[in-house]
């Protein structure tokens, strides 16, 4: 599998870290060896990407001898929940511009909408 762009490597590394058993925390060396078994990749690339993820707050780290040990600050589920709150709950105060396929609506509108949609669906299949 080729890695396109820096963002994708970040995603691969986060994916690995989340799917690992997080005790004990991971070193760059361990992760590099895992990745290098599947693709050609430089040790320094993995190191700088993990450093970057640390500065952006995705990974926490602790010095262990000469190397750092990394672990995720939040689980994948916690991140998903945060992002979905941002995207679906009518936006926090600084809103994010998103194009929803279907806007989230209230209960009454939803019921009314469904009834009309059911009627339309019948109309199209007839």
């Amino acid at each position: 599998m080729r890695i396109r762009g820096f963002g994708e490597l970040e995603a691969v590394i986060m994916d690995r870290i989340w799917s690992r058993d997080s005790t004990p925390p991971t070193t760059v060396r361990e992760l590099f060896e895992e990745l290098a078994a599947e693709r050609t990749i430089a040790y320094t690339t993995v190191m700088s990407t993990m450093d970057n993820l640390h500065t952006k707050g995705w990974l926490a780290r602790e010095r262990d001898g000469k190397a750092y040990r990394y672990w995720p600050t939040l689980s994948r589920e916690q991140h998903s929940a945060r992002l979905m709150r941002e995207a679906l709950d009518g936006g926090g105060s600084p809103e994010v511009v998103l194009q929803h396929f279907v806007e989230q609506i209230g209960a009454e509108e939803s019921e009314r909408l469904r009834s009309v949609l059911r009627r339309l669906a019948q109309g199209t299949t007839r």
Partner: protein, 442 residues
Amino acid sequence: MISVVVGLLLYSMAMLVAAPPLLRALTSSGNAPRLGVVTWLSAIGTVVGSWLATAAMVIVEVISHWTHPRTVAASCLARLQRTISGDAGIAPQITLVVIAAAFTVAVAIIGMRLAAAVLGMRARAHEHARAVRLVGRHTGEANVVMVDAAKAAAYCVAGRPPAIVVTSAARAALDDRQLAAVLAHERAHLAGHHAVIVSALRALAAVFPRLSLITEGAQQVSRLLEMCADDVAARRHSSRALLSGLIALCTAAPAEALAAADLAVLARAERLATPPAGSAKVKTRAALTSVVAIMAAGPLIAVADCIRRSHVWGPGMRADPHTTVGLIAAPSPSKALGHSASGKVVSMMMMMMDDGHWGWGSWLLTTGTTIVFWALVITAVVLLARYLLSLSQRPTGTPRAAGASNAEQVLAERYARGEIDDEEYQRRLGLLRQNMASTTTT
């Protein structure tokens, strides 16, 4: 200059009052969503543009009189100053500095707030896109990520690269055909850079929250952009696949009281179920195109009109011997009227110098007649648009559908207020639907 400024300000005021209801009526049908977006954007654009032009003219006027503060008497601003303080009581340059600085600062502050709002929204969107890519599972398709969530939702977010997010619940609710149509809809948003338009309008709405032209424009444009994306997706796949995807996602969405949304989804669904007739499309297009043309010509006409009137009324007024600086062959009224376009611009420039020749009385008279003139023009446009609209709406069955859903809404409201119980609600709803089904089939 004052006539140009008055013309532009009158134009923008007329637009602020008349445009929102007119454009709402013309674009609500969704017959020509893309042209509808163009119309709203040009309405907002010409208004903002005329404010900018006004501010620029005031600043330029002040600067151009800078080296000859004595000749400032030719400008309306200095006349104001003279009226208040007696002839050249305070140093004219101080007044000029204050006026120019006030305008510059106002433009700069508004510009900075707009830029900050747009850049902030962009940064948050990019951050969201990046985070979603880290958290979500990548599917085979470019830029599409799946995120585990109990709520069914699909959306796109601008970024480098952008992301289209489909929640696991939405994936479960959609079959492959529907998913492809939904993804095509989201891709159309990304390809059309709709997020840029929406962010710019939301930023403007945040800076001018009291102008309904802008706040309502922001809402209507996002609604129309959804319809544009629907059209692209329906062309690429089929309107039936898209409609059933829409229905599947609405039915899968949990019925929670969230942000209040208008029933834009309903309008979209009805559009997909019964696409607008060709003749209705043509009529809406014609109406929208003429509105755009009027709006494009509006500022120019307003300015030219004010200039013409100031010529008509100007010569009769007392001429101040101190203000003869701008006397560069003031064109006669007939000349100004019969001029070609370039000639008008020249006479406009001359008028900027010529302003000193008419007093406050004529100014009031001019303004009054101009307001009456424009009120008539706007009324004519509104009546014309209403007429065109009534033509385009007659063939469709919307009144009946609206009546039916109104009845259901009344019922739902009574149910929500606790006036009727579950059984009663279901029974009445069933009867209403039966009744409607029989009327639609006959």
